[in-house]
């Protein structure tokens, strides 16, 4: 195996790893509310979401071989920039998962690529206008739209069903929740797995393994779909807990209104080509579901921490991408990439081990919220 081939393999493995973290970070978007209201048992929810992500990945196969299109100059994209960008995005995904914060995987990836490009090709290769119009402004507008729609939906749902028996209301909306959460999972597989397929296809074209017009090989599609589905099934329980229990206490009518709003906004945004992040939409919808129900308590501290993380995502991932690119460049070649890959794997393992000290999993994901991601075993402590 020559050096070029080693580079390519490392990029593909990193892309699939990113795809995996993308899946497990975003399980919460579709399933947090269904898990919190008991519409689905936790294990069943993540399995359903995983299967639907897998199916969704095959629904549309017009893969665009791009990364951060319109944001960085496509001429500046080399294998090492793609690699460093993926590492930056991946590490930020893991850090936010550790703290249980739902942050956007797409923003993390774009941030990583921007950071790597800044060092590799200079500031002129990054298009500020594209960054503003495709990333920053939508990040502000998406949650606002979702909050608005979910508030209206939740308000209507409670008004309309005020005389429906409790049994029928809880049961009926649980069924509705499963349906709407399934739609969100399907859309996630379609949108996000395609990004990874696009990145791997781009890497294959860049390394002249396939021609520019060859289209995406089947193994790339199957591998990307499998990685995102597995990630989803493993389940980012820490993020699920923050969205399902931390932001507000959710009842099944609220959960249904939230997922209905998320599905509608995500579908509409993909159709009209408005670049919204699934994570921002889903988090906004859950806040809206809290606002729309009278006297529901929203923990604005948790929401605020989330908003801060969204602001930090781009620069933090950019820093990670820049450091990864610099490290790769200093050592050079396949060895440089290998060393950076090994370091990233070490950091990932460290975060995993740290999370084991206070684990969140399917058995304690719905425990009472005590102000922290990991439920503690002590009783009688303050409620944040």
């Amino acid at each position: 195996m020559d050096a070029e081939m080693v580079l390519l393999v490392l990029v593909v493995v990193t892309a699939l790893s990113f795809d995996f973290t993308n899946g497990f970070h975003d399980t919460a978007n579709a399933m947090a509310t269904s898990i919190a209201t008991g519409a689905l048992r936790p294990k069943v929810a993540v399995a359903l979401s995983g299967v639907l992500n897998f199916v969704g990945a095959f629904l549309s196969l017009e893969v665009a071989a791009t990364i951060a299109k319109g944001i960085v100059d496509s001429g500046a994209i080399s294998l090492s920039v793609v690699f460093a960008g993926l590492v930056g995005g991946l590490l930020w995904n893991l850090v936010t998962w550790y703290f249980g914060i739902p942050s956007s995987s797409s923003h993390a990836l774009i941030g990583g690529v921007v950071g790597a490009t800044l060092l590799a090709a200079g500031t002129s290769a990054v298009k500020g206008a594209g960054l503003l119009s495709d990333v920053i402004i939508p990040a502000v507008l998406a949650p606002v739209a979702a909050v608005l729609i979910a508030t209206v939906g939740t308000f209507l749902v409670y008004r309309i069903t005020s005389r429906v028996s409790e049994r029928l209301r809880v049961g009926g909306f649980r069924v509705g929740q499963i349906g709407s959460a399934s739609l969100v999972s399907l859309a996630h597989g379609t949108n996000d797995a395609q990004k990874t397929m696009g990145i791997i296809t781009l890497a294959l074209i860049t390394s002249h393994t396939i021609g520019p017009d060859d289209g995406t090989p089947m193994w790339v599609i199957v591998a990307s779909a499998t990685a995102i589905a597995l990630g989803t099934y493993i389940g980012g329980w820490r993020v699920i807990r923050t969205l399902g229990k931390g932001l507000t206490e959710i009842e099944s009518p609220q959960g249904f209104a939230a997922e209905g709003s998320s599905a509608a906004v995500i579908f509409a945004a993909s159709h009209f080509g408005f670049p919204l992040s699934t994570t921002h939409v889903c988090s906004g919808s859950i806040v809206g579901a809290g606002v729309g129900k009278r006297l529901a308590e929203i923990r604005w501290g948790v929401a605020g921490r989330m908003a801060v993380a969204w602001l930090v995502t781009l620069p933090a991932a950019a820093l990670g991408g820049a450091v990864a690119w610099k490290g790769t460049d200093l050592i050079g070649g396949a060895l440089g990439m290998g060393v950076v890959f090994a370091l990233a794997a070490l950091i990932a393992a460290g975060l995993y081990l740290a999370s084991r000290r206070a684990p969140v999993n399917h058995s304690n994901v719905n425990d009472r919220w005590t102000g922290r991601v990991a439920p503690s075993a002590q009783v009688g402590e303050r409620v944040a």
């Binding site: 009926g172 599905a263 009209f272």
Partner: protein, 76 residues
């Protein structure tokens, strides 16, 4: 500002989101009201078939909306 925001598609997203998100959710709720009229009856009372018809119609509309959403997603 409008140089950086595709205002036209933003409005469309908001409008479709309200119709599909809040609207269909409300239709589903009306379906439950119909189902309640049919199922939540006092013992001995006749079941209100109209409620069941309303419920079926509402749930069909919601399912149709979801299907239309899927088609739109794939036809981007």
């Amino acid at each position: 500002m409008s140089d950086f925001v595709d205002v036209d598609s933003l409005w469309k997203v908001l409008a479709v989101g309200l119709i599909g998100g809040a609207g269909l959710v409300a239709v589903f709720a009306f379906g439950l009201v119909g189902l309640s009229a049919y199922a939540d009856r006092p013992p001995g009372a006749r079941p209100k078939v109209l409620g069941l018809v309303l419920a079926c119609a509402c749930f069909l509309v919601v399912a149709g909306g979801a299907a239309a959403g899927l088609v739109a997603l794939l036809a981007k």
